[in-house]
C-alpha cells in the first residue's frame, strides 16, 4: 500500500508546485507575500498535525521552535554570510531538531493539559531570552536578515516571487516527506502509541522513543517554518513569536482536520486568508480604524467556532463528507491495516486525547485508504 501511494503523493506535490508557480507569476506582489505566508504556515502546521493527530501529544510550543529556527537562520546569515541558503536551512532544521529532542524527552511523561501547559509556557518563555540577552539576539528590535534573489534569475526577478517559490518548495518537500513517514513503520508506531500506550508497548513499540521522535519531527518542521519566516519578513524579533502564534498553529491543525496533511493546508489557508479578507471588507466599508482592525479578529473567532461546530472532523472531514467518502459524525482514529495497534476496544487508556473511538461505525473501504494515505 505504501509503495503504491508514493507516486500519487509526488504527483500531487508536483501539481501543487506548478499551480503555485503560475499563481505567483500572475498575481501581485502582495499575493506573492501571502503565498509565502501560507507556505510557512503549512510547513509548521503539517509538523504539528503529525505530532498531535498521529502521536497524540498536544503542543502549544511550536511557536518556540519557530523562534529557534528563525534566530538560528538570522545568526547564521549574519555571521556566516558565505553559506548557501540551503545549508543555513539544514542547519536551522538540525538545531531545532535538537531542541525538539530535549523538549520531547522532558515532555514524554506528560499528558493532555499538563503537556499543553508546559509547552505553552515554553512558547512564552523562550522569546523572552531575546530580551534578556540583547547583545546576542538584538533585544526587542530583533535581528535583520539580508535575503536576495540568486544571480541566475536576473536582476529584474522580484524578490517576493523568489521568497514565495522558496517557501512553497520547502512546504511541499515537507509534506511529501511527512506523508511517507506517516505511512511507514514510524507512523504506525505513532498511531499505536496514540491509541493505547500499554498495548503498543506490549506489541514491542518503544513508546518513549516514538513520542520523542514525534516531537523531533514536529519541531524540525516548525524550525524550517521559522527559518522561512526569517527570510520572508527579513527581520526576526521576539514580538513575532507570541503565544498567539503557537495557538494559531494548533488551531489551524484542528480546524483543517487533525492528523491529515491536506487538513494542514486547509487550516493554514483559513488562518492566513480569513483575517486578511475580513480586513479588506472592513476597510472598504470606510469603518473607523479601531473598528476595522478588530472586525477581522472577531470574525476569525466566529469562523473558528462555526467550523468546529459544523465539521467536527475539521475541514478535511467536511471535504471527504462532500465527496461522499464518509459519514460526517464518527471519529475515525484508528488505521486498519497495521499490526501493532490491533487492540481490543476494552483496553482504552483513559488519559489519551482522541475523540470518542467507541462510537465508531464501520466505514466504507475507500475511507480507510484515505485515512492511511493522509
Amino acid at each position: 500500500m505504501s509503495t503504491r501511494s508514493t507516486p500519487r503523493v509526488l504527483g500531487a506535490a508536483l501539481a501543487a508546485a506548478v499551480v503555485v508557480a503560475v499563481l505567483s507569476i500572475k498575481l501581485s506582489t502582495f499575493r506573492d507575500y501571502q503565498i509565502a505566508e501560507i507556505a510557512i504556515e503549512v510547513t509548521a502546521v503539517a509538523g504539528l498535525t503529525v505530532l498531535t493527530g498521529l502521536s497524540g501529544q498536544i503542543s502549544l510550543g511550536n511557536g518556540a521552535f519557530m523562534f529557534v529556527g528563525a534566530y538560528t537562520t538570522a545568526l547564521l546569515m549574519m555571521h556566516l554570510a558565505s553559506w548557501p541558503f540551503i545549508a543555513v536551512l539544514v542547519a536551522a532544521a538540525a538545531v531545532t531538531a535538537a531542541a525538539g529532542a530535549v523538549v520531547g524527552m522532558a515532555a514524554a511523561r506528560l499528558h493532555g493539559p499538563y503537556l499543553a501547559g508546559a509547552t505553552l509556557l515554553l512558547s512564552v518563555a523562550l522569546p523572552a531570552l531575546a530580551n534578556a540577552y540583547p547583545g546576542t539576539f538584538g533585544g526587542d528590535q530583533g535581528l535583520n536578515v539580508v535575503f536576495t534573489t540568486p544571480g541566475f534569475l536576473g536582476v529584474n526577478f522580484p524578490l517576493t516571487r523568489w521568497q514565495a517559490w522558496v517557501c512553497s518548495a520547502v512546504a511541499l518537500v515537507t509534506l511529501v516527506l511527512l506523508a511517507n513517514l506517516s505511512r511507514s513503520r514510524v507512523g504506525r508506531n505513532w498511531r499505536a502509541v496514540r491509541d493505547d500506550e500499554v498495548a503498543a508497548a506490549l506489541a514491542g513499540v518503544n513508546v518513549a522513543r516514538a513520542r520523542v521522535l514525534a516531537f523531533v519531527v514536529s519541531a524540525t518542521c516548525a524550525g524550517l517554518a521559522g527559518a522561512l519566516l526569517a527570510v520572508v519578513t527579513e527581520l526576526v524579533a521576539p514580538g513575532a513569536f507570541t503565544i498567539t502564534l503557537s495557538i494559531a498553529l494548533l488551531t489551524a491543525a484542528v480546524i483543517g482536520g487533525l492528523g491529515t496533511l491536506p487538513g494542514a493546508v486547509w487550516g493554514s489557508l483559513v488562518i492566513v486568508l480569513v483575517p486578511t479578507y475580513a480586513t479588506d471588507v472592513a476597510t472598504s466599508h470606510g469603518l473607523s480604524t479601531s473598528v476595522a482592525s478588530n472586525i477581522p479578529i472577531a470574525a476569525y473567532g466566529v469562523v473558528l467556532i462555526f467550523v468546529m461546530l459544523t465539521f467536527p472532523q475539521g475541514i478535511q472531514g467536511g471535504v471527504r463528507w462532500l465527496l461522499g467518502l464518509v459519514s460526517i459524525s464518527p471519529a475515525r482514529t484508528r488505521p486498519v491495516a497495521s499490526g501493532p495497534d490491533a487492540t481490543p476496544p476494552a483496553g482504552q487508556a483513559p488519559a489519551s486525547q482522541r475523540g470518542a473511538p467507541l462510537a465508531r461505525r464501520t466505514d466504507p473501504p475507500e475511507s480507510h485508504e484515505k485515512e492511511e494515505t493522509l
Binding site: T52, I58, A106, R109, L110, H111, P113, Y114, A116, G117, A118, L120, L121, L122, V124, A125, A128, L129, N131, A132, V198, I243, I247, L250, T251, V254, I255, L258, S290, V291, S293, N294, I295, P296, I297, A298, A299, Y300, G301, V302, V303, L304, I305, M308, L309, P312, Q313, A331, G347, Q348, A349, P350, A351, Q353, R354, G355, A356, A359
Partner: protein, 295 residues
Amino acid sequence: MVEFLQFTLSGISFGMIYAAIALSLVLIWRGTRLLNFAQGGMAMFTTYIALEVIRHTGSYWAGFAVALAAGVVLGAVAELAVIRPTLGKPELNAVIITIGLLILLEGLAGIMYGGQFRSFPAAFSVTGLKAGSTPLGISRADVFVAVAVLAAALLLAVGFRYTSAGLRMRAAAFNATVARLSGIRVARVITVGWALAGLLGALAGVLVSPSTFLYPNSMDSVFVLGFTAAVIGGLDSPAGAVVGGLLLGLALSYAGGYLGSQGSDLTALVTLGILVVVLMFRPDGIFAGARVRRV
C-alpha cells in the same frame, strides 16, 4: 529582612489572583475535562463592563457586583451555546472553540472600547501600608485582593462540602454516569460549574486590572500564569489551585525583587523553570491523586 517581608506580602497578593484563575480552570476541568482558554478573555470582558458601570454610576461596588454577575451569565451562556454541542466530539474541538471564543471576545472588546490602555480603579487606597515605620510593600487594595479571593475559595469549599448542590457537583465530577443514574442532572451541574468559573474569573479580572491596566489582551499573561498555577497544583484539585497560585506568586515576586531588572524579563523563564521542576517529580501536579491506568 524587611525586603523579604515586602516581597512575600506582595507575592501573596498576586498569587491569590493567579489562584482565582486557576480555581476557575479547575472548576471547569472537573466538570467537563476541558481547558477553557477563554477564561482570561471572559474576565477581560466583564472588567470592561464593570468599568462602564463605574463610569455611569460613580460607584466602585456597583461595578464590582455587575462584573461578578456578568461573569456568571457569560460562563453559563458560553457553556450552553458553544460547549455543550461539542459533547462526544473529539476533545480538542471544544478547546479550539474556547480559543475561538477568546479571539471573538478580544475582537468585540476592541470594536466596542478600542485598543487603548485604560486605568481601572482599585477598591481601596493604593498607598503603602506601614507597620510602625517600616513599609510593608503592600496597600489596603492588595490586602483586599487576597481577602476577596480567599473568601471566594472558602465559600466554594464550604459550598462543595456542606450543601446538597455541592454534593451533586462533586458527584458529577467524580463519575458522571453514576451521578446521572442516581438522578443528578449532570448537564445542569456542568452549567453551574461554568457559571461559578465565570464568577471567579470576573473577580480575578476586577482585582488584577488596577495593576495591569485594561485592554483587550490584558488578561493573556494573567491567564497563562493562572493556567500554570492550575497545572502545578493539579487540575483536579481546588486546594492545589490555591497552593499553585501562591507558590507562583511568591516565586515571581522573589525573582522580580532579588534579580532586579533582569528578573522582569525572566519572569516567564522562572515560571517555566518552576513548572518543569514540579512536573518532573509530579507529572500530574502536586495534588494529583493516585494515577489510575486501566490495562
